[in-house]
Symmetry: none
Subunit: 203 residues, 2 copies
């Protein structure tokens, strides 16, 4: 093995570090910093699975684009296909390009949450319904193109004002991908005062 010019694994580690803290470095510059030929640099990149400069920039650019695309989700998430007020409800939400991380195709958590939350709120038959708290589990990741079917069940109610417990399960086919317990605050709408929060029913 090499002894003078720094052992290979060590050099590769350095290469990794250099690129990590400056992704815009060219192979040309790397030869200067690591004192090896450009071919060696390229072999190293290959072995380490590091793409070329342009590909690295492209990936970063895509990531920054994702940020912009993720914001404009205002309306109620998912399509409600069944609703029995104060009892249960079902909604469908298909994962599209704008809902996933472009690199992995995995859906962003807040979209899955949003569908469930929207449904939990919709199922409550009050002028105003806001999520007070929630306890949620992402059972498995959801991929681009998958159809999420959320089912909500009202587990308990306390009077015309007060709180309601709603349980939501989200499925892709037979598989459960998400589960959550929502505590929904219900009000007639006279005042949306303190000690409570998020979300009302219908727009």
């Amino acid at each position: 093995m090499v002894i003078e010019r720094l052992p290979k694994p060590l050099r590769q580690q350095q290469l990794l570090k250099i690129i990590e803290e400056n992704p815009f470095v060219t192979d040309q510059e790397l030869t200067r910093q690591l004192k090896v030929s450009i071919q060696t640099i390229r072999l190293d990149r290959m072995e380490l699975g590091i793409p070329e400069l342009r590909e690295r920039m492209k990936q970063m650019a895509e990531r920054s684009l994702d940020q912009v695309r993720s914001l404009p989700l205002d309306e109620v998430i998912g399509e409600v296909i069944d609703l029995q007020l104060d009892k249960s409800g079902i909604s469908i939400f298909e994962i599209r390009e704008e809902h996933v991380f472009s690199r992995t195709g995995i859906a962003r958590g807040h979209h899955i949450f949003a569908q469930a939350n929207s449904l939990a709120v919709a199922v409550i038959n009050n002028e105003i319904a806001l999520t007070a708290s929630a306890d949620i589990r992402f059972v498995r990741s959801v991929q681009l193109g998958e159809k999420c079917i959320a089912k909500a069940y009202v587990r308990s109610m306390s009077g015309k004002k007060g709180k309601a417990k709603v349980e939501v399960f989200t499925y892709v086919g037979e598989e459960m991908v998400f589960q959550g317990n929502f505590l929904i605050y219900r009000s007639t709408g006279e005042e949306y005062s303190e000690g409570v929060s998020q979300h009302e029913n219908r727009d």
Copy 2:
């Protein structure tokens, strides 16, 4: 002037729009969409001051890099203003028209959740970080125009892979409006398999 092949200013406007909604388009593709020669496309880009594809990608990549400097400025909802990996982070998110119920001006829960969730994920210094579960409370409702300041603290970590507990508090001014405990699954990225979920870290 041209009459058949669509007047120049109109074509340039279209070009601008196409690039705006898909910055990754090549001149080659633009010729197909606008039905003019590649030279015309390039003259148009010149006149409009639109740089070439690679330059556009580079700029996007740079922007995403120096927003928080260092890579981990992910798919964060809200603007990250401080980030100490594996320790803590702060982000700001202003509630605008598109985030509220039009009738009441109350912010929809999933936006508040999204900010907190994004930050909880961003603060974890791993290739992939996904929300496994969360326990959240909406303390009080947030109104249109209010600035939400989310603060995340890593409470515990278990090795390089495994789970991390992150606590997030969101404030409007002095008031706490949201609080959540997130269990984040961390992985090196070899496989984003089962039994886990949402959200990854860096690209």
